[in-house]
Amino acid sequence: MAKQSNEPALWALFSAGGVMAAFVIPVHLFLLGLAFPLGWIPAPGYEYLHSFVRLPLTRLYLFVLCFLALFHWAHRFRYTLYDGLQIKHLNELIFFCCYGGAILGTVWAGYLLWNFR
């Protein structure tokens, strides 16, 4: 029996993140990053957003979005570095940087959303 690798779990996170990112990030980004700041569509007010994000369900959604999107990034970026730059000898370092980054980001998101007042 070959060594049990953690690839299935990482790949599952990558895939789930990919689906999530494909379905919701474009519209989020279009509104938040372009349409609202450039005034194409009136931006929602602070009060509305604040109360909306306070809803537990919204916070759960945002947490899942951040968590999966970050692991999606970590996995894909790791392989991009392997393939694109041919720095195989740095495999371990790349591995820890990518997934480490994703874990840190997830912890940060969890901290912000848990303590959201």
């Binding site: 070959a2 049990q4 690798s5 690839e7 299935p8 779990a9 599952a12 195989k88």
Partner: protein, 249 residues
């Protein structure tokens, strides 16, 4: 249409050359001629030392894969006339990512070893005697693996796969598709045995779904799809054995 077309063929002789070089040949441009016909014309009429593999000339034996203008092709099914209007020589090179033995001939042993490593034969526990007739298999069950059984081992998919090029330990598209051919066969019971090989890093996990293997496949086998589908299977199996360790074999 011009009456001749130029070919730039990669020449390499291990006994003579330190590095390969391109040699240019002008060959008659017939409407029915494929790249392989041009190579045979050169070998017969111009230079008998030009070296390449070929056999059936009908796209089924898988011998004559080469790079034509940078794309992996079966040269028996690649018409010269498609390149005539480009007005520059057609570049013929050995399949990419394989060691070159001579001219257009590449080393295949690694590929053969990989085919064998995925246990591409029907595995069954019981072994019913021949006298009891066939294992039943409905057309629908046949259809599940049919596509993956069409591989002619021409290795174009390996020549299209940068993952294999960068790290030849990768088992690669054709071998994984072949494993799936047996995994999906309703008569087979060997999926578990094959998983040991496929679920390694060198197996499916090395694949980043570039997808070029599927695009260059002359038989529409879709190895990229096979690999992605297997990733899902392997992940589900892994979670199952994690959640229900008692159910795992």
């Amino acid at each position: 249409m011009p009456e001749t077309i130029s070919l730039e063929v990669l020449r390499y002789s291990p006994e003579r050359d330190a590095e390969p070089s391109f040699q240019r040949y002008d060959v008659p441009l017939h409407k029915d001629w494929v790249v392989l016909d041009a190579l045979n014309y050169i070998k017969d009429k111009v230079d008998g030392s030009l070296t390449f593999r070929w056999s059936c000339r009908m796209g089924i034996c898988g011998s004559c894969g080469m790079m034509v203008n940078g794309e992996p092709k079966l040269t028996c099914a690649t018409f010269l006339s498609n390149y005539a209007k480009e007005n520059k020589p057609v570049r013929v090179q050995p399949l990419r990512y394989f060691p070159v033995i001579r001219d257009l001939v590449v080393e295949v042993t690694d590929f053969m070893t990989k085919l064998q490593s995925v246990k591409p034969w029907l595995i069954r526990g019981d072994g019913k005697p021949i006298s009891e007739g066939e294992y039943l298999q409905t057309p629908e069950q046949l259809d599940r693996y049919k596509q993956f059984s069409m591989c002619i081992n021409c290795m174009l998919c390996y020549a299209a796969c940068p993952v294999y090029g960068l790290d030849p330990v990768f088992i690669g598209p054709a071998a994984i598709a072949l494993a799936q051919r047996y995994n999906m066969d309703s008569r087979d019971e060997g999926a578990h045995e094959r998983m040991d090989v496929l679920a390694q890093h060198e197996g499916i996990w090395g694949c980043t779904f570039v997808g070029e293997c599927t695009k260059v496949c002359p038989k529409h086998v879709d190895p990229a799809g096979a690999i992605q589908q297997y990733k899902l299977t392997a992940t589900i199996e892994r979670f199952k054995s994690f959640l229900m360790p008692w159910a795992a074999k």
